[in-house]
Amino acid sequence: MDAYSIVSHSLVLLQATCVILVSAYLITRSRYFVEVLDGHRTWENQLALILFFGAISVYGSVIGISYSDAVISVRDLGPLAGGMACGPIIGLGAGLIGGAVRMTMGGFTADACSLAAVLAGLAGGLIYLKTRRFPAIAFSVALAALFELFHMALALALSRPFSVALDVAEAGVVPMMLANAGGMLVFAYIVSNFIAERENKAERERIQRELDREQAELAVAADIQKSFLPDAVPADSGFDLATVSMPARVVGGDFYDFIPWEDRLGLVVADVSGKGVPAAIFTGLAKTILRASMAPGKDIAEVLRDTNNIIADNSRSMMFVTLFLGCLDQKNRTLTYANAGHFPPLLFRAKESAFSKLEVTGVALGMAAGMEYQVRQISLNPGDILVLYTDGITDAEGAGGEMFGLDRLASAVASSNHLSSQEILDRILKEVFAFSADQEQFDDITAMVIKG
């Protein structure tokens, strides 16, 4: 073969490759292909795909390049690829079209070549039935090459005179295998990419839906958690009260509560270990058990002891809750309390203008059953301020990684001690947020201010 014919043959092959490339692209982007891929088969989309792949097969015959004594065609490619991608009906249909057109072109291998086109569609279809998805690119390419080997065997078996058929087969087998393998490489690459792209998109959409659903659930969970908090500060306690609770995430592990208890008022500020949903679920449990334990006639120590025992017996997750339980007595102006491992509340004495802490009187609830809690009592005189808080306030981080700490909390209280409990609370929050200006709120923040 001279240089000119090599170049012209190469150009024809390049042209064929481009046609297959564009066809494959168009087919995969058509709604017919997508519908069949999704399993929505109609007469319309199947017929359209039969025509598509049939047309590629016809093109594969027409483009035939004379090489030595053989004509190199890529006729089998359309039916084979169509069958593999869309199933036996489309493979066979395309094969019949390609085969019929080849029949009209005549020649002594017409029977064998036509039959090969039909069998290519059938083979592709059978693979589709077996795998139900487009095979790997390497497999597809190897299959296309092997099918051409089979095509040549068919030609030898059916075409006479045998000696001429053998010459043609000898000359054509390698180029045919290469041409069809190359065509299949292009086609399989595009189809595989398309399918992977679609699956990625479907996966992305699924994850997005899942996220949306979880977010909606979290919003409901947040509403439920908010509804667990008291609607308002009790008006008739005889003390000036203010509270705040701000989860770091949508839901949180802090809670506070006001519980009318006999003729007194129970106060709770608590912090469950951890954050987010697990902690939030646990707050519901802790709050409910605590309320159920607050039977008339019991003292605070007994309430905490029972609450601790129930939580410890039921908490295999090793969750625990630090909890301050106080009881305000309006008549005697006292606070009776027990502190189960909670950060010691800060007490400001107006008379001395000095701070003290209400230290812990037992361990956090839920760590181990059988714990005992001590009860203490303080007086709350006019102007005295008690601040119950969770570590979201004292552990709030400043720009340099420094923590807000107890001293800053105390100075915020001291500087606003002449104001109402709500104003003191506002001052505390303002200072905390000013301190941690650039930082995201990292921990749940809950506080209660009680002014005598």
Partner: protein, 114 residues
């Protein structure tokens, strides 16, 4: 947070540094779980370089201690900084753990007994 694991006489030791908060406590939990696969009974956590432990971190320690207790072992702690010690004292966790002033003293005690 950084975790360095070493094993001395079959006793896994975790040298932790940084902050053990809601995020990093999960790393600590996986590191401990990894060591629990070794079937060791005793484990030592050296908190010399730890400046902060959140309640999530405390829970991880309680869980690890409970897992070791179930195989008749224990999780011991060493070298608590003042702020960390305070958290252990306030929550009451202190009374559930054997806490040593230093890794050396912890090992001396632990290896001597086992």
């Amino acid at each position: 947070m950084e975790i360095n694991k070493i094993i001395i006489y079959d006793t896994p030791i975790l040298n932790v540094s940084g902050k053990i908060d809601a995020v990093t406590s999960k790393q600590l939990e996986s590191a401990i779980d990894e060591l629990l696969k070794l079937d060791a009974k005793m484990m030592l956590l050296d908190l010399r370089e730890v400046e902060y432990v959140s309640s999530s971190g405390l829970r991880v320690l309680m869980v690890a201690k409970e897992k070791l207790r179930q195989r008749h072992g224990d999780l011991r702690l060493a070298s608590l900084q003042p702020l960390v010690r305070e958290v252990f004292e306030i929550t009451g966790l202190k009374q559930f753990f054997s806490i040593y002033p230093s890794q050396g003293e912890a090992l001396k005690d632990m290896l001597h007994k086992s």
